[in-house]
Symmetry: C2
């Protein structure tokens, strides 16, 4: 009888590295989160290696590691497994896949983390087996992973779905990218915190204000917080209309820490869609509430998406666009 | 020796029907433009049939008609060859392909006119053999045809690329679709005329103001006209940045009557891109002038795109997403 074979998914962030080990049937075997040491490019890679090594040792999973999928922030050269630029990890043209492949003797597939999370939603959080969807990650930044006909849209330079840098208000706040009024300056968790501070909202003692604090304050009846929540929801409602018209998918799935507010997060977005539907037959046909949901918060879509990446690329029949 | 075989492309507009007959090597054989009779749904179809019939008779092309491609405005059910809705042609769920197929005994392929024009650019106006491009049609409305990896992006409801109804100014002018501030209310030829009239620009005696008049007035030194041209260019520059980030294609190709102003039309758009590049390394890497051009004005992209549609679908090996 052949030795059992495993797949490993790794989600690399600026703070932590999370792993998910699964068996050949994609059942969970072991998972782990370790701190990311970003003191140097090599230190970042070493954190990943430590996370993988500890996972394999602690899982006591005797057998063969068939493939490793890795999701990393920033721009990725997928074909060569190179991180072209990942500011928070201090990587520029860093050959992540080659380094890990040499160390662990298994094929390593590298992809942008948001696109990886979109693969995770498509494979593991998709009861209706939808093949056309956009996953929108809302955190310190905003980005989208686009799945069309079951395949990720990469774009010619790995930039397809860079929704966070859509300019939506030409005279809006300055963005890290150098432009003004990019979507992420208006609706990211960072933007919610900035707006909350400007409105005088206070954090709990001993730590600074978070986006969740703003949503909690709104739920508790704070008018200033509610105004922020409504405004952000309205802007997201417009942006997600534009996403639907760009790709004409069946579903937009939202993820990222700020979406843990759940229905309270969706409500102001759906209110904007309802306003548009009330005024327009086109919007009534297009902006239906069933096209918008929040990703399953019980699953780490980053790590599970990396599992999906490893699975789809190591499967015998690779279907590609 | 086998009888020669032909392909026919048909571009259906609210005013005219244009045909393009080509031989098996896609060389032009004959072309024709007839008026569209939109007095009833059946009258519109009869106009197309007359256009096709006259083309075949006048071309004296003895041989077999291998396929007919037809581009029509509005929403199309491509799989069934049905026009789902085409307001200006008075069609609702009209079985265009079946009617023409019965009449002419050749397979008929129906597709949205802008998507068809994108196929035309991809096949007949593509010296660099680019496989990822967006064709943006700017006329009374604004819409995009998206080609990814050489294949048209259809979307789940035939709406992918409905760029004209991206909301870009929540408090902008009212749009036909019922929303406010859709892109086409700000940058379409119709919008340019509206802005020109509001600025007091006069037309030549005996006819009403056109978008071309506004561009001509700007070129002749009219400050109010120049202001409109600059404003429209800036808004298009922002919208096309967002298009590039959505699809990450190699090229955006602009078409439609208003783009016949040529370099004068591109200049204010490129000026906006230059402003963004000056402020941002991300924009410098992304918004390069080589990614933007105007479609070859010597070719009717609608009719030639319909030829491309007929060719790709009647070829022995059909490659699909």
């Amino acid at each position: 009888m052949a030795a059992p074979s495993y797949l490993l998914g790794v989600d690399v962030g600026g703070t932590t590295v999370s792993t998910q080990l699964v068996d050949a049937a994609l059942r969970p075997v072991y998972e782990l989160t370790v701190a990311t040491d970003v003191s140097s490019p090599d230190a970042t890679l070493e954190s990943i290696a430590v996370g993988i090594e500890r996972t394999l040792v602690e899982a006591r999973a005797g057998g063969r590691l068939a493939a490793i999928g890795v999701g990393v922030p920033g721009q990725v050269d997928t074909a060569n497994g190179v991180s072209r630029i990942a500011v928070n990890l201090h990587w520029v043209d860093y050959p992540v896949a080659a380094c890990l492949q040499q160390r662990f003797g298994a094929p390593v597939y590298l992809e942008n983390d948001v696109r990886v999370a979109a693969l995770g939603v498509h494979r593991f959080d998709n009861p209706s087996q939808i093949q056309d969807l956009v996953y929108v990650s809302i955190g310190t930044g905003v980005a989208a992973g686009v799945i069309l006909a079951g395949q990720p849209l990469l774009g010619r330079n790995g930039l397809a779905g860079e929704l966070g840098h859509f300019i939506v208000e030409a005279d809006g706040p300055a963005c890290n990218c150098g432009a003004h009024g990019c979507l992420e300056t208006l609706v990211s968790a960072t933007a919610v915190v900035r707006l909350g501070k400007a409105a005088g909202l206070g954090a709990q003692a001993g730590r600074s204000l978070t986006a969740k604090d703003v949503y909690d304050a709104a739920a508790a009846g704070d008018a200033a917080a509610q105004q922020i929540v409504d405004m952000v929801g309205a802007k997201l409602g417009v942006a997600l209309r534009n996403v639907l018209l760009a790709y004409d998918v069946d579903e937009i799935v939202l993820g990222g820490g700020v979406t843990r507010a759940g229905p309270r997060y969706l409500e102001p977005i759906l209110a904007e869609w309802a306003r548009q539907r009330a005024a327009s037959a086109f919007a009534r046909a297009t902006l239906t509430p069933d096209k918008l949901r929040i990703a399953d918060p019980r699953r780490n879509m980053g790590a599970w998406g990396a599992v999906a990446l490893a699975a789809r690329l190591s499967e015998p029949k690779i279907r590609r666009i």
